[in-house]
């Protein structure tokens, strides 16, 4: 393997994480260079979501370490959080607030102001003032996407971005990922749409039972 001179965007070494008695991640080691789009494949329960949650600092690794953007996920969480964003299974939305309000809450806390533009981008401009409780699963996904993009992250973790979306939604996701890549961001995509994502991903790893069982493409 050629040693890359630049620091990897993401580094994980022997990362393990348990839930009760079960080790969701047993031993995950990999590296990704900046600006790459990496696909993370694996069956249900292989640990993809857990891996993303560890890398985005939502949870701590029980063993091993990981660095995102050069910052340790356990000891330098604030720095990681400033540079990354997670699109998770759970939407992180407040049911009783409207779409616009949900985004405004985030915007005010982080000091950005692109709410209206993003709502338009994800195709929710028409429903901006409706409470999230009236949204379908696909619309929530779009809103969560907008929420993640609002943070203008350099490193993005997308956990099943295509889930619950219609064909237009699929195209939206493809477009957004392409734009992110063009802007130099590093994107990790956990997905079952392996063929679709393989079409544009630079590299991939496959997880099974919390371990990396295969890699392909240039990770670095």
């Amino acid at each position: 393997m050629i040693r890359n001179v630049a620091a990897p965007a993401i580094e994980a070494m022997n990362v393990a994480r348990r839930y009760g008695r079960r080790w969701a991640l047993a031993d995950v080691t990999f590296r990704v260079a900046p600006g790459r789009v990496m696909m993370v494949a694996g069956r249900n329960g292989s640990g993809k979501s857990t891996l993303f949650r560890v890398l985005s600092t939502a949870i701590r690794p029980d063993r091993g370490w990981a660095k995102v953007g050069g910052f340790d996920v356990e000891h330098e969480r604030e720095d990681v959080r400033q540079r990354s964003a997670l699109l998770a299974h759970q939407s992180y939305l407040y049911e009783s607030l409207t779409a616009k309000e949900n985004l405004d809450v985030v915007a005010r806390i982080i000091g950005r102001n692109a709410t209206a533009a993003l709502l338009d981008r994800v195709g929710l401009a028409g429903r901006a003032n409706d409470p999230v409780s009236t949204f379908s699963a696909g619309m929530r996904k779009r809103l969560s996407f907008a929420r993640a993009l609002l943070q203008e992250p350099r490193i993005v973790f997308l956990d099943e971005p295509y889930g619950q979306l219609d064909p237009e939604g699929f195209q939206l996701v493809d477009q957004v990922i392409r734009e992110l890549k063009e802007s130099g961001a590093t994107v990790l995509v956990a997905t079952h749409q392996v063929d679709r994502v393989a079409g544009y991903a630079d590299c991939s790893i496959t997880l099974d039972a919390g371990r990396v069982i295969g890699t392909s493409g240039e990770l670095e």
Partner: protein, 292 residues
Amino acid sequence: MKRSFAIAFALLAVGVYFGLIVTAGEQYLHADLSLGVSVVARTLIAFLSGLAAVIVFLGGDDIENYARPKILLVTGVLFLLVGSYFGLFVAPPEQFMGDTQRIMYVHVPTAWFALLAMTIGFVSAVVFLFNSDFVWDARMEGSIEVGVVFAFLLCCQGAIWAKPTWGVWWDWDPRLTTTAVLLFAFLGILALRRFVEDPVKRGIWSSVATIIAYVDVPIVYFSVKWWNSLHQQQSSPNTVSKPFWIPLRANAFGILLLMVAFIMLRARISALRLKHELAPPPLVEAQLGEAV
């Protein structure tokens, strides 16, 4: 590790000597064993070396060996037997309260060591929050449980004393009431531990709750004291004059040793459970594991 046990035992011996043996010598052998140390200094030495012994016993405990707590258990029971004999049969009845006062020989030490156990729990909680070492979580669980048991005993003893003396089971004495509140607070923390399965979360949450509850103890005490101040202030039975010292102190040492022994034993149970819960991921056979 073995050395710390010996040191702690030596400290204990010093405390027992100055706190108990000298007084016994004065009273029953009419001999002066005090080595020239004044009464006040003796009490202070006994108190400090007892405390130091507790700290070294628990701090140097590796939560593995079972012989040590058993030794302490046996020694503690012996002291308790001596103290109880003196307390029940030898010491004179008190001036105002007669024989009911004898319960003070267990009540007073139980009170001291309930508070000490809770303090040990508090210190363990703080240390655990700083270094995330599960040994301290085990110690905290052990000391809180022992503290809860002692607090419960305190309430029972208080009730037993109050009925013949005041005619009611409970007299809202500030110290006893604070103990009751303390009992409920820490029972709540133990309940919290039962409901949380993840060991890390369980440790952190119960440490936080312990700190919050412990800080509250003096506040509760003062508030209950003021609240109760309009009522007649009950006087405590006399335990300060010399004839009462021997049973009181013998029991004190006994209960101190029992407290330490129980904390050690309970911490071992916790530690075993934690070892099981924190086991590393199982190794899988050759086919997987080809890393990048």
